[in-house]
Amino acid sequence: MAGAGGRAPLGLRRWLSSAAPAPRVCVVGSGPAGFYTAQHILKHHGGALVDIYEKLPVPFGLVRFGVAPDHPEVKNVTNTFTQTARSGRCGFYGNVTVGRDVTVPELQRAYHAVVLSYGAEDNRVLGIPGENLPGVYSARAFVGWYNGLPENQDLKPDLSCETALILGHGNVALDIARILLSPLQLLRKTDITDSSLAALACSKVKRVWLVGRRGPLQVAFTIKELREMINLPGARAVLDPADFTGLESAVKDASRPRKRLTELMIKTALEKPVEMQAAAAGAAAPREWGLKFQRSPQEVLPSADGRRARGVRMALTRLEGLGDSAKAIPTGDVEELECGLVLSSIGYRSLPLDPAVPFDSQRGVIPNSSGRVEGVPGLYCSGWVKRGPTGVIITTMNDSFDTAQSLLEDLQGGVLDLSPSREGFGLVESILHSRGVRPVSFSDWEKIDAAEVARGKAAGKPREKIVDPAEMLRIIGH
């Protein structure tokens, strides 16, 4: 018999055979962090009951609303999440906003442990003049728009210009560039919303610049996304070889990921002349994209009539220090980049959920130690609200397993109050009922899911997302 040693003691797995009351755990947020935390607890504790609360009527958070529509492979994680949700020991309660419909202290009274996995629902702002001009959007809102996030459905970005400027060198920036430049026939087969597809069909954008304050050695995107962009059909990479001078030797001793990423950029930059010959020969790609470095946005410039953005004034920078810790210092020189569309992709940000929960507003995270919220026994956090809004799916998976492990250790160590009076959802249900809130169950979601898949089928898409929560609720007869 294997598995007896290791992560969870046998006693926990065999919980059902003992007389002790089942620990009730509540998870706030049904994105990857919430589901991976729940999965780990359920898997390593044979008796624990886990309830997942979600603000929207539909589960999976950023897997549904963040992962790009042309990355369906990543969305395969929802198959595992669905297995977890269908477990007899897991409850899903959508359409419940924690902090409004039910407070964290109320959840703490109903559950033996509460895990906050609600992610990063806000974005960092540039804090420069002109930021609120029409034509300037946050990457978060733009991603939410094309992914069908209800709150962003009114964004209706103006895509009537030829040049878009994305501020940021992360994977979200590359996602947006790819969506803006992808051939329509590729997007048509994805679960991108019908309305954003229609808007992209009319888009005049044919050039996208991704601009960062620092240099090629500080880019935050990962190589898979860069390679995808380089290989995008019908779009040409425009990288200035001068930006990469001397970098080959600089990355000789760098970590393998940084080295390979940099080498791919160098290779692409040096290949450019060949491609330009091809372009001259008439095989021109109608669209292009490029990376611009060491430019810090100073002001979004208004058009003559002052009614929309026409460009961004950039402060040129020099780098002080090396590697990840290099700082961009303005040189005093400026440059204006013309563009009609500005997308600010400089990071997401978590918000405090409840006055009862400590929050580090400087770092935008809940202060914690291995997922244990500082100073509040029985309260935990995982995912972006725990460590900040970075990383890929495996980062969040490991991070969530780590939090779940802390919780299991506390259960085992008798740290948690396991009084039977904490009756879990039973208690929350009456609170929600008194406030007129009707939760959406996982089987309700499966009806919405089926409706979406059916609608998509007609159009040859994996699904057509329903973007109006009221319509979701109508489908399930609420």
């Binding site: 294997a2 390979r260 799916i393 994996p462």
Partner: protein, 198 residues
């Protein structure tokens, strides 16, 4: 690697990590696999790539009694594979030639948490496995796309591969691969280290 001793576990018998909810938390590899990647096409290629099976007999002779027992009733394309999971446990199973190592883990419900999140579509690095040097050198070439995902793996080594991209072949019989530790394992090791210093 945490040394908690190696226990033999026949995955076909009592499933390690199996509990009342069945396969919770393991990848499924069902009909839903999205956007089939240019996977190496294990099942299609393996027959040709196996060649003359030159050293198959040698390997066969070195088999452990457990594998031997399997051979006695199963067809020739059964290969014994050992996985050492994050807890240091040795999980031994019988794989079919042509299966990817990810499929081996999933089909036998081996106790490796979070393995194969993207279900073998080269979109994550959760099926990261570490090989010994000699075996690693004998594996098929690595694609850029696999290297790209490996770059994001935890505990990357010079002999790391993604389990979804390595297909079982006859010469691999007796293969041992190791699951790298994740952050929580490292943390627990740190804590143990701290405690022992106190």
């Amino acid at each position: 690697m945490k040394e908690t001793g190696e226990r033999e576990a026949s995955a076909t018998g009592e499933c390690p990590g199996l509990w009342d909810d069945g396969q919770l938390g393991s990848a499924t590899l069902r009909v839903t696999r999205q956007k089939a990647q240019p996977l190496p096409g294990c099942c299609l290629l393996s027959a040709q790539e196996l060649g003359p099976l030159g050293n198959w007999d040698l390997l066969y002779l070195r088999w452990t009694p457990l594998s031997f027992a399997n051979l006695s009733y199963s067809s020739e394309n059964q290969v014994t594979v050992h996985f050492i999971n994050r807890d240091g446990e040795r999980l031994t199973t019988t794989a079919k030639e042509g299966e990817s190592l990810l499929e081996v883990v999933v089909n036998h419900n081996l106790a490796i948490d979070g393995f194969g999140a993207c279900e073998g579509t080269l979109a994550c690095s959760t099926c990261h496995l570490i090989f010994d040097k000699d075996t690693f050198q004998k594996l098929d070439a690595i694609s850029d796309e696999e290297l790209d995902m490996l770059d994001l793996a935890y505990g990357l080594t010079d002999t790391s591969r993604l389990g979804c991209q390595v297909c079982v072949k006859k010469w691999m019989d007796g293969l041992t691969v190791r699951v790298p530790m994740d952050v929580s394992d490292m943390r627990r090791q740190l804590e143990v280290g701290k405690q022992s210093k106190q």
